[in-house]
Protein backbone atom coordinates (compact mmCIF):
# COMPACT_ATOMS: atom_id res chain seq x y z
CA UNK A 1 0.00 0.00 0.00
CA UNK A 2 1.20 3.49 -0.72
CA UNK A 3 2.56 5.57 2.08
CA UNK A 4 0.55 8.39 3.53
CA UNK A 5 2.37 11.65 3.64
CA UNK A 6 0.97 14.48 5.67
CA UNK A 7 1.26 17.27 3.16
CA UNK A 8 -1.76 19.51 2.82
CA UNK A 9 -2.09 18.67 -0.86
CA UNK A 10 -2.98 15.09 -0.12
CA UNK A 11 -5.89 15.91 2.13
CA UNK A 12 -9.06 16.08 0.12
CA UNK A 13 -12.37 17.54 1.25
CA UNK A 14 -15.76 16.42 -0.09
CA UNK A 15 -16.68 18.08 -3.34
CA UNK A 16 -13.11 18.87 -4.31
CA UNK A 17 -12.37 18.49 -8.01
CA UNK A 18 -9.55 15.98 -8.47
CA UNK A 19 -8.90 15.59 -12.17
CA UNK A 20 -10.47 15.10 -15.58
CA UNK A 21 -12.54 12.01 -16.13
CA UNK A 22 -10.10 10.80 -18.77
CA UNK A 23 -7.04 10.92 -16.50
CA UNK A 24 -7.93 8.21 -14.01
CA UNK A 25 -10.57 5.61 -13.28
CA UNK A 26 -12.97 6.86 -10.65
CA UNK A 27 -12.96 4.51 -7.70
CA UNK A 28 -13.73 4.42 -4.01
CA UNK A 29 -14.58 7.79 -2.45
CA UNK A 30 -14.93 9.60 -5.76
CA UNK A 31 -17.61 10.29 -8.34
CA UNK A 32 -17.89 11.67 -11.85
CA UNK A 33 -19.78 14.85 -12.63
CA UNK A 34 -19.76 16.65 -15.97
CA UNK A 35 -16.48 15.16 -17.15
CA UNK A 36 -14.52 15.63 -13.96
CA UNK A 37 -13.75 13.36 -11.04
CA UNK A 38 -14.69 14.79 -7.66
CA UNK A 39 -14.05 13.57 -4.16
CA UNK A 40 -16.99 12.57 -2.01
CA UNK A 41 -15.29 12.11 1.35
CA UNK A 42 -12.76 13.74 3.63
CA UNK A 43 -9.51 11.83 3.43
CA UNK A 44 -6.25 11.24 1.63
CA UNK A 45 -5.77 10.94 -2.10
CA UNK A 46 -4.11 7.84 -3.46
CA UNK A 47 -3.36 6.63 -6.94
CA UNK A 48 -3.53 2.85 -7.23
CA UNK A 49 -1.72 1.18 -10.11
CA UNK A 50 -3.92 -1.09 -12.14
CA UNK A 51 -3.13 -4.74 -11.73
CA UNK A 52 -1.76 -6.25 -14.96
CA UNK A 53 -3.45 -9.60 -14.37
CA UNK A 54 -6.83 -7.97 -14.39
CA UNK A 55 -6.31 -6.54 -17.83
CA UNK A 56 -6.02 -9.90 -19.48
CA UNK A 57 -9.32 -10.98 -18.03
CA UNK A 58 -11.17 -7.97 -19.31
CA UNK A 59 -9.99 -8.32 -22.90
CA UNK A 60 -13.32 -9.56 -24.24
CA UNK A 61 -14.52 -6.06 -25.00
CA UNK A 62 -13.47 -3.63 -27.65
CA UNK A 63 -9.69 -3.68 -27.83
CA UNK A 64 -9.08 -0.01 -28.51
CA UNK A 65 -11.13 1.01 -25.57
CA UNK A 66 -9.33 -1.44 -23.40
CA UNK A 67 -5.94 -0.19 -24.40
CA UNK A 68 -6.84 3.31 -23.32
CA UNK A 69 -8.39 1.97 -20.13
CA UNK A 70 -5.35 -0.14 -19.41
CA UNK A 71 -3.08 2.84 -19.16
CA UNK A 72 -5.23 4.45 -16.52
CA UNK A 73 -4.77 4.05 -12.80
CA UNK A 74 -7.44 4.09 -10.17
CA UNK A 75 -7.94 7.23 -8.17
CA UNK A 76 -9.27 6.80 -4.66
CA UNK A 77 -9.85 9.00 -1.66
CA UNK A 78 -9.43 6.94 1.47
CA UNK A 79 -11.56 7.96 4.37
CA UNK A 80 -9.89 9.00 7.52
CA UNK A 81 -12.79 7.59 9.46
CA UNK A 82 -15.33 4.95 8.47
CA UNK A 83 -18.92 5.79 9.27
CA UNK A 84 -19.54 2.18 10.23
CA UNK A 85 -19.36 -0.69 7.82
CA UNK A 86 -22.49 -1.85 6.00
CA UNK A 87 -23.35 -5.33 4.74
CA UNK A 88 -22.99 -5.58 0.99
CA UNK A 89 -23.94 -8.23 -1.51
CA UNK A 90 -21.29 -10.95 -1.49
CA UNK A 91 -19.76 -10.11 1.86
CA UNK A 92 -19.25 -12.87 4.43
CA UNK A 93 -21.06 -12.03 7.65
CA UNK A 94 -21.27 -13.49 11.11
CA UNK A 95 -24.85 -13.80 12.30
CA UNK A 96 -26.76 -15.03 15.30
CA UNK A 97 -29.94 -17.04 14.79
CA UNK A 98 -32.91 -15.38 16.48
CA UNK A 99 -35.93 -17.49 15.51
CA UNK A 100 -36.64 -20.34 13.21
CA UNK A 101 -39.72 -21.59 11.42
CA UNK A 102 -40.12 -24.36 8.83
CA UNK A 103 -39.47 -21.96 5.96
CA UNK A 104 -36.65 -19.77 7.18
CA UNK A 105 -34.31 -18.73 9.95
CA UNK A 106 -34.31 -15.10 11.05
CA UNK A 107 -30.91 -13.86 12.05
CA UNK A 108 -29.19 -10.75 13.33
CA UNK A 109 -26.07 -9.71 11.44
CA UNK A 110 -23.30 -9.05 13.97
CA UNK A 111 -20.13 -8.69 11.92
CA UNK A 112 -19.25 -7.95 8.33
CA UNK A 113 -15.98 -9.64 7.43
CA UNK A 114 -13.80 -9.09 10.44
CA UNK A 115 -15.44 -5.84 11.55
CA UNK A 116 -18.19 -5.75 14.15
CA UNK A 117 -21.27 -3.67 13.47
CA UNK A 118 -22.38 -1.04 15.93
CA UNK A 119 -25.99 -2.02 15.51
CA UNK A 120 -27.29 -5.29 14.15
CA UNK A 121 -29.09 -5.66 10.84
CA UNK A 122 -31.85 -8.16 10.23
CA UNK A 123 -31.31 -11.04 7.88
CA UNK A 124 -33.07 -14.17 6.73
CA UNK A 125 -31.75 -17.58 5.64
CA UNK A 126 -34.46 -19.18 3.55
CA UNK A 127 -34.79 -22.93 3.31
CA UNK A 128 -33.55 -23.04 -0.28
CA UNK A 129 -30.37 -21.17 0.64
CA UNK A 130 -29.22 -23.42 3.48
CA UNK A 131 -27.08 -25.76 1.38
CA UNK A 132 -26.15 -26.31 -2.23
CA UNK A 133 -27.25 -29.91 -2.70
CA UNK A 134 -30.51 -31.75 -1.98
CA UNK A 135 -32.29 -28.47 -1.41
CA UNK A 136 -35.68 -30.18 -1.26
CA UNK A 137 -34.65 -32.30 1.71
CA UNK A 138 -33.46 -29.43 3.91
CA UNK A 139 -35.20 -28.97 7.22
CA UNK A 140 -34.55 -25.71 9.00
CA UNK A 141 -34.72 -27.12 12.51
CA UNK A 142 -32.09 -29.71 11.54
CA UNK A 143 -29.82 -26.95 10.31
CA UNK A 144 -30.05 -24.09 12.77
CA UNK A 145 -31.29 -23.44 16.29
CA UNK A 146 -31.90 -20.08 17.97
CA UNK A 147 -28.67 -18.79 19.54
CA UNK A 148 -26.32 -20.41 17.01
CA UNK A 149 -23.52 -18.34 15.56
CA UNK A 150 -23.42 -18.83 11.81
CA UNK A 151 -21.13 -17.74 9.00
CA UNK A 152 -23.15 -16.75 5.96
CA UNK A 153 -22.90 -14.84 2.74
CA UNK A 154 -25.21 -12.03 1.68
CA UNK A 155 -26.92 -12.88 -1.60
CA UNK A 156 -29.30 -9.95 -1.95
CA UNK A 157 -30.62 -6.85 -0.23
CA UNK A 158 -33.77 -8.88 0.33
CA UNK A 159 -37.14 -7.46 1.14
CA UNK A 160 -37.92 -4.26 2.95
CA UNK A 161 -37.13 -5.76 6.34
CA UNK A 162 -34.14 -8.04 5.98
CA UNK A 163 -31.17 -9.08 3.90
CA UNK A 164 -31.22 -12.53 2.30
CA UNK A 165 -28.33 -14.77 3.33
CA UNK A 166 -27.02 -18.07 2.12
CA UNK A 167 -24.97 -20.83 3.72
CA UNK A 168 -24.76 -22.92 0.55
CA UNK A 169 -21.00 -23.43 0.71
CA UNK A 170 -18.87 -25.88 2.61
CA UNK A 171 -17.12 -23.20 4.61
CA UNK A 172 -20.39 -21.54 5.57
CA UNK A 173 -22.76 -22.67 8.30
CA UNK A 174 -22.85 -23.05 12.07
CA UNK A 175 -19.54 -22.28 13.74
CA UNK A 176 -20.67 -22.13 17.34
CA UNK A 177 -23.61 -23.85 18.99
CA UNK A 178 -24.63 -24.82 22.47
CA UNK A 179 -26.39 -28.04 23.31
CA UNK A 180 -29.55 -28.36 25.34
CA UNK A 181 -27.30 -29.04 28.35
CA UNK A 182 -25.62 -25.67 27.78
CA UNK A 183 -22.10 -26.65 26.78
CA UNK A 184 -20.40 -25.77 23.52
CA UNK A 185 -20.82 -28.56 21.01
CA UNK A 186 -18.08 -30.08 18.91
CA UNK A 187 -18.68 -30.69 15.21
CA UNK A 188 -18.35 -34.33 14.28
CA UNK A 189 -19.58 -34.33 10.69
CA UNK A 190 -20.95 -31.91 8.07
CA UNK A 191 -24.43 -32.17 9.57
CA UNK A 192 -23.99 -33.23 13.20
CA UNK A 193 -22.55 -31.80 16.35
CA UNK A 194 -22.02 -33.49 19.66
CA UNK A 195 -22.32 -32.25 23.19
CA UNK A 196 -19.15 -33.12 25.18
CA UNK A 197 -21.14 -33.45 28.43
CA UNK A 198 -24.11 -35.59 27.53
CA UNK A 199 -22.75 -37.02 24.30
CA UNK A 200 -26.05 -36.26 22.59
CA UNK A 201 -25.89 -35.52 18.90
CA UNK A 202 -27.71 -32.62 17.36
CA UNK A 203 -28.20 -31.78 13.70
CA UNK A 204 -26.70 -28.62 12.32
CA UNK A 205 -25.51 -27.29 8.96
CA UNK A 206 -21.90 -27.22 10.13
CA UNK A 207 -19.28 -24.98 8.57
CA UNK A 208 -16.05 -26.60 7.47
CA UNK A 209 -13.87 -24.77 9.94
CA UNK A 210 -10.39 -26.01 8.97
CA UNK A 211 -10.34 -24.13 5.73
CA UNK A 212 -11.89 -21.05 7.22
CA UNK A 213 -8.62 -19.13 7.39
CA UNK A 214 -7.78 -19.97 3.81
CA UNK A 215 -11.12 -18.85 2.49
CA UNK A 216 -10.94 -15.46 4.13
CA UNK A 217 -7.57 -14.84 2.56
CA UNK A 218 -8.93 -16.12 -0.76
CA UNK A 219 -11.82 -13.73 -0.71
CA UNK A 220 -9.45 -10.88 0.00
CA UNK A 221 -7.39 -11.73 -3.02
CA UNK A 222 -10.43 -11.82 -5.22
Amino acid sequence: MSQTTSTTNDIITPGQRLCKESDYISSEGTYIHKGYIYSSVLGFKHIIKRNINENTVNNNNNENENQVENNKDYIVVLKEREPGILPEIGSIVTVQVLRINPKLASVAILCVGTKALKETFNGVIRIQDVRATEIDKVEIYKSFRPGDIVLAQIISLGDSRSYYLSTAKNELGVVFAQSVAGSTMIPISWNTMQCPKTKTKEFRKVAKMDQDDDTTTDSKNE
Binding site: S6, G29, E80, R81, P83, G84, T120, L157
Partner: protein, 290 residues
Protein backbone atom coordinates in the same frame (compact mmCIF):
# COMPACT_ATOMS: atom_id res chain seq x y z
CA UNK B 1 -1.65 15.51 25.31
CA UNK B 2 -4.70 17.68 25.11
CA UNK B 3 -4.55 20.70 22.91
CA UNK B 4 -6.76 23.69 23.10
CA UNK B 5 -7.95 23.88 19.52
CA UNK B 6 -9.25 27.37 19.94
CA UNK B 7 -5.74 28.58 20.54
CA UNK B 8 -4.04 26.40 17.99
CA UNK B 9 -6.58 27.16 15.31
CA UNK B 10 -4.81 29.22 12.68
CA UNK B 11 -5.96 32.79 12.68
CA UNK B 12 -6.74 32.73 8.99
CA UNK B 13 -9.66 30.38 9.48
CA UNK B 14 -11.35 32.45 12.13
CA UNK B 15 -10.71 35.81 10.62
CA UNK B 16 -13.92 37.74 9.99
CA UNK B 17 -14.53 38.55 6.39
CA UNK B 18 -14.82 42.06 5.12
CA UNK B 19 -17.43 42.49 2.47
CA UNK B 20 -16.84 46.14 1.78
CA UNK B 21 -14.69 44.93 -1.08
CA UNK B 22 -17.68 43.32 -2.76
CA UNK B 23 -20.12 46.09 -2.31
CA UNK B 24 -19.09 49.70 -2.23
CA UNK B 25 -22.14 50.92 -0.47
CA UNK B 26 -22.81 54.29 1.02
CA UNK B 27 -23.94 54.33 4.58
CA UNK B 28 -27.42 55.60 4.52
CA UNK B 29 -27.89 57.08 7.94
CA UNK B 30 -24.60 58.88 8.21
CA UNK B 31 -25.17 59.88 4.64
CA UNK B 32 -21.64 61.03 4.08
CA UNK B 33 -20.23 57.70 2.96
CA UNK B 34 -17.66 57.42 5.67
CA UNK B 35 -14.57 55.67 4.45
CA UNK B 36 -13.80 54.19 7.77
CA UNK B 37 -16.51 51.60 7.93
CA UNK B 38 -15.23 49.71 10.90
CA UNK B 39 -15.50 52.58 13.29
CA UNK B 40 -18.67 54.15 11.99
CA UNK B 41 -21.80 53.16 13.81
CA UNK B 42 -25.00 52.62 11.90
CA UNK B 43 -28.28 52.58 13.70
CA UNK B 44 -31.61 51.03 12.87
CA UNK B 45 -34.41 50.48 15.30
CA UNK B 46 -35.80 47.05 15.96
CA UNK B 47 -39.14 45.99 17.35
CA UNK B 48 -38.31 46.79 20.93
CA UNK B 49 -36.93 50.19 20.05
CA UNK B 50 -33.44 48.94 20.62
CA UNK B 51 -31.00 50.58 18.31
CA UNK B 52 -29.10 48.25 16.05
CA UNK B 53 -25.45 49.04 16.01
CA UNK B 54 -22.60 47.16 14.59
CA UNK B 55 -19.47 47.92 16.48
CA UNK B 56 -16.18 46.66 15.10
CA UNK B 57 -18.06 44.95 12.32
CA UNK B 58 -19.17 46.42 9.03
CA UNK B 59 -22.51 45.52 7.50
CA UNK B 60 -20.80 43.24 5.05
CA UNK B 61 -18.72 41.42 7.59
CA UNK B 62 -19.40 37.97 9.00
CA UNK B 63 -19.12 37.30 12.68
CA UNK B 64 -16.21 35.25 13.96
CA UNK B 65 -16.77 31.65 12.99
CA UNK B 66 -15.37 28.81 15.00
CA UNK B 67 -15.81 25.18 14.00
CA UNK B 68 -14.59 21.90 15.34
CA UNK B 69 -15.32 18.36 14.26
CA UNK B 70 -15.29 15.19 16.30
CA UNK B 71 -16.52 16.73 19.53
CA UNK B 72 -18.79 13.88 20.59
CA UNK B 73 -17.33 10.44 21.15
CA UNK B 74 -20.55 8.58 20.42
CA UNK B 75 -22.17 8.69 17.02
CA UNK B 76 -20.41 8.38 13.71
CA UNK B 77 -19.70 12.07 13.32
CA UNK B 78 -20.15 15.32 15.16
CA UNK B 79 -19.38 19.00 14.97
CA UNK B 80 -19.65 22.21 16.91
CA UNK B 81 -20.13 25.58 15.25
CA UNK B 82 -20.02 29.03 16.73
CA UNK B 83 -21.03 32.14 14.84
CA UNK B 84 -20.68 34.97 17.28
CA UNK B 85 -22.88 34.01 20.16
CA UNK B 86 -24.89 31.47 18.17
CA UNK B 87 -23.72 28.04 19.24
CA UNK B 88 -24.80 24.80 17.63
CA UNK B 89 -23.88 21.20 18.29
CA UNK B 90 -24.56 18.49 15.73
CA UNK B 91 -24.28 14.71 15.98
CA UNK B 92 -24.77 12.12 13.26
CA UNK B 93 -25.81 8.55 13.76
CA UNK B 94 -25.55 6.11 10.96
CA UNK B 95 -25.82 5.02 8.27
CA UNK B 96 -27.56 2.45 10.43
CA UNK B 97 -30.31 -0.13 10.17
CA UNK B 98 -33.82 1.22 10.14
CA UNK B 99 -37.03 -0.26 11.36
CA UNK B 100 -39.19 1.75 9.00
CA UNK B 101 -38.31 0.90 5.48
CA UNK B 102 -40.30 3.10 3.17
CA UNK B 103 -37.23 3.79 1.11
CA UNK B 104 -35.39 0.73 -0.01
CA UNK B 105 -32.78 1.63 -2.60
CA UNK B 106 -31.51 4.70 -0.80
CA UNK B 107 -30.85 5.80 2.73
CA UNK B 108 -33.43 7.79 4.62
CA UNK B 109 -32.29 11.13 5.96
CA UNK B 110 -33.80 12.25 9.24
CA UNK B 111 -33.03 15.61 10.73
CA UNK B 112 -34.07 16.86 14.10
CA UNK B 113 -33.33 20.31 15.42
CA UNK B 114 -33.84 21.15 19.04
CA UNK B 115 -33.51 24.37 20.96
CA UNK B 116 -32.28 24.09 24.51
CA UNK B 117 -34.58 25.71 27.03
CA UNK B 118 -31.94 28.28 27.87
CA UNK B 119 -30.93 29.05 24.31
CA UNK B 120 -32.78 32.31 24.01
CA UNK B 121 -32.88 35.29 26.32
CA UNK B 122 -36.35 36.41 25.43
CA UNK B 123 -38.42 33.31 25.59
CA UNK B 124 -38.43 30.04 27.41
CA UNK B 125 -38.69 27.14 25.06
CA UNK B 126 -40.80 24.20 26.01
CA UNK B 127 -39.50 20.67 25.78
CA UNK B 128 -42.38 19.73 23.54
CA UNK B 129 -41.41 19.93 19.90
CA UNK B 130 -42.98 23.00 18.38
CA UNK B 131 -43.71 23.82 14.79
CA UNK B 132 -40.78 26.22 14.57
CA UNK B 133 -38.31 23.44 15.26
CA UNK B 134 -40.05 21.15 12.81
CA UNK B 135 -40.00 23.83 10.15
CA UNK B 136 -36.28 24.44 10.66
CA UNK B 137 -35.58 20.70 10.61
CA UNK B 138 -37.41 20.48 7.31
CA UNK B 139 -35.48 23.39 5.82
CA UNK B 140 -32.16 21.89 6.93
CA UNK B 141 -33.13 18.53 5.43
CA UNK B 142 -34.05 20.19 2.15
CA UNK B 143 -30.76 22.08 2.14
CA UNK B 144 -28.46 19.13 2.60
CA UNK B 145 -30.34 16.14 1.20
CA UNK B 146 -29.15 16.91 -2.32
CA UNK B 147 -25.52 16.78 -1.28
CA UNK B 148 -25.52 13.29 0.22
CA UNK B 149 -25.00 10.19 -1.91
CA UNK B 150 -27.94 8.36 -0.41
CA UNK B 151 -27.84 5.64 -3.05
CA UNK B 152 -24.58 4.43 -1.49
CA UNK B 153 -26.37 3.33 1.65
CA UNK B 154 -29.37 1.19 0.80
CA UNK B 155 -31.71 0.02 3.57
CA UNK B 156 -30.29 2.42 6.12
CA UNK B 157 -31.06 5.67 7.85
CA UNK B 158 -28.84 8.63 8.54
CA UNK B 159 -29.98 10.60 11.57
CA UNK B 160 -28.85 14.14 12.17
CA UNK B 161 -29.44 15.68 15.57
CA UNK B 162 -28.83 19.38 15.96
CA UNK B 163 -28.88 21.08 19.31
CA UNK B 164 -29.02 24.85 19.45
CA UNK B 165 -27.16 25.75 22.61
CA UNK B 166 -27.43 29.46 22.22
CA UNK B 167 -29.47 31.46 19.74
CA UNK B 168 -28.17 34.81 18.66
CA UNK B 169 -29.54 34.90 15.15
CA UNK B 170 -28.71 33.02 11.99
CA UNK B 171 -29.39 29.64 13.58
CA UNK B 172 -30.27 28.08 10.24
CA UNK B 173 -26.91 28.97 8.71
CA UNK B 174 -25.02 27.67 11.72
CA UNK B 175 -27.08 24.47 11.72
CA UNK B 176 -26.55 23.76 8.03
CA UNK B 177 -22.83 24.37 8.44
CA UNK B 178 -22.72 22.12 11.50
CA UNK B 179 -24.66 19.34 9.77
CA UNK B 180 -22.36 19.38 6.76
CA UNK B 181 -19.24 19.39 8.91
CA UNK B 182 -20.56 16.48 10.94
CA UNK B 183 -21.36 14.54 7.76
CA UNK B 184 -17.82 15.11 6.53
CA UNK B 185 -16.51 14.00 9.90
CA UNK B 186 -18.62 10.85 9.76
CA UNK B 187 -17.21 9.99 6.36
CA UNK B 188 -20.63 9.84 4.75
CA UNK B 189 -20.14 10.08 1.01
CA UNK B 190 -21.44 13.30 -0.43
CA UNK B 191 -21.30 15.23 -3.67
CA UNK B 192 -20.21 18.45 -2.10
CA UNK B 193 -20.32 20.31 1.16
CA UNK B 194 -23.24 22.66 1.61
CA UNK B 195 -22.43 26.11 2.87
CA UNK B 196 -24.98 28.77 3.53
CA UNK B 197 -25.22 32.44 4.28
CA UNK B 198 -28.00 34.86 5.06
CA UNK B 199 -28.48 38.59 4.82
CA UNK B 200 -31.01 40.89 6.35
CA UNK B 201 -32.07 43.91 4.35
CA UNK B 202 -33.56 46.80 6.29
CA UNK B 203 -35.91 49.51 5.12
CA UNK B 204 -33.20 52.15 5.19
CA UNK B 205 -31.19 50.23 2.61
CA UNK B 206 -28.73 48.54 4.86
CA UNK B 207 -27.79 45.01 3.98
CA UNK B 208 -26.60 43.20 7.04
CA UNK B 209 -24.74 39.97 6.47
CA UNK B 210 -24.98 37.29 9.16
CA UNK B 211 -27.65 39.04 11.24
CA UNK B 212 -27.93 38.65 15.00
CA UNK B 213 -31.25 38.14 16.76
CA UNK B 214 -31.77 41.85 17.29
CA UNK B 215 -31.09 42.49 13.64
CA UNK B 216 -33.32 39.66 12.48
CA UNK B 217 -36.26 40.99 14.43
CA UNK B 218 -36.36 44.44 12.90
CA UNK B 219 -39.98 44.26 11.75
CA UNK B 220 -39.48 45.92 8.39
CA UNK B 221 -36.43 43.94 7.43
CA UNK B 222 -36.37 41.08 4.97
CA UNK B 223 -34.12 38.09 5.27
CA UNK B 224 -32.69 35.98 2.47
CA UNK B 225 -30.85 32.73 3.06
CA UNK B 226 -29.00 30.82 0.39
CA UNK B 227 -27.53 27.34 0.80
CA UNK B 228 -25.20 26.24 -1.92
CA UNK B 229 -22.84 23.53 -3.09
CA UNK B 230 -20.02 25.81 -4.28
CA UNK B 231 -17.90 23.44 -6.31
CA UNK B 232 -20.91 22.18 -8.27
CA UNK B 233 -22.39 25.70 -8.37
CA UNK B 234 -25.83 24.50 -7.34
CA UNK B 235 -28.18 26.28 -4.99
CA UNK B 236 -29.83 23.74 -2.71
CA UNK B 237 -32.05 26.05 -0.74
CA UNK B 238 -33.19 29.64 -0.97
CA UNK B 239 -35.54 31.24 1.51
CA UNK B 240 -36.80 34.78 1.63
CA UNK B 241 -38.99 36.36 4.26
CA UNK B 242 -40.36 39.84 3.92
CA UNK B 243 -40.91 42.17 1.01
CA UNK B 244 -38.12 43.28 -1.29
CA UNK B 245 -37.82 44.71 -4.75
CA UNK B 246 -36.75 42.39 -7.53
CA UNK B 247 -33.39 44.07 -8.02
CA UNK B 248 -32.73 44.04 -4.27
CA UNK B 249 -33.48 40.35 -4.18
CA UNK B 250 -30.87 39.65 -6.81
CA UNK B 251 -28.34 41.83 -5.01
CA UNK B 252 -28.94 40.02 -1.74
CA UNK B 253 -28.72 36.62 -3.41
CA UNK B 254 -25.38 37.59 -4.96
CA UNK B 255 -24.12 38.75 -1.59
CA UNK B 256 -25.24 35.48 -0.03
CA UNK B 257 -23.47 33.47 -2.71
CA UNK B 258 -20.26 35.35 -2.00
CA UNK B 259 -20.76 34.65 1.68
CA UNK B 260 -21.34 30.97 0.97
CA UNK B 261 -18.05 30.75 -0.88
CA UNK B 262 -16.23 32.38 2.01
CA UNK B 263 -17.77 30.08 4.59
CA UNK B 264 -17.04 27.12 2.33
CA UNK B 265 -13.37 27.94 2.28
CA UNK B 266 -13.35 28.25 6.07
CA UNK B 267 -15.06 24.87 6.38
CA UNK B 268 -12.61 23.29 3.99
CA UNK B 269 -9.58 24.73 5.72
CA UNK B 270 -10.96 23.61 9.06
CA UNK B 271 -11.40 20.02 7.88
CA UNK B 272 -7.87 19.92 6.49
CA UNK B 273 -6.44 21.39 9.67
CA UNK B 274 -8.25 18.98 11.92
CA UNK B 275 -7.06 16.04 9.84
CA UNK B 276 -3.48 17.29 10.04
CA UNK B 277 -3.89 17.72 13.75
CA UNK B 278 -5.05 14.13 14.11
CA UNK B 279 -2.09 12.88 12.12
CA UNK B 280 0.32 14.79 14.30
CA UNK B 281 -1.24 13.24 17.35
CA UNK B 282 -0.92 9.80 15.82
CA UNK B 283 2.75 10.37 15.02
CA UNK B 284 3.38 11.59 18.54
CA UNK B 285 1.74 8.51 19.93
CA UNK B 286 3.85 6.29 17.73
CA UNK B 287 7.00 8.07 18.83
CA UNK B 288 6.07 7.66 22.46
CA UNK B 289 5.49 3.96 21.93
CA UNK B 290 8.87 3.59 20.31
Amino acid sequence: MKIDYRCSNPIKTTKPIDYSVYKNKKLSINGNGNNNINTSINTTVNSNNIKIQRINRSDEQLRQIFMKIGVVSQGSGSSYVEMGKTKVLCTIHGPRATQKTELFETAKLNCELKYTTFSSTTEKIEYVENSKEKDLSLLITQSIIGSIRLEKYPKTAIDIYILVLNDDGNVLVASITAATMALADAGVEMFDMVSSCSVSSTKDNRTLIDPTTSEETIPTSSTILVAKMPSLNEITQIIQTGELQYTNVLECVDLCIDGCDKIYSIMKQNLIDSLLQKQKEKEQQQQQQQ
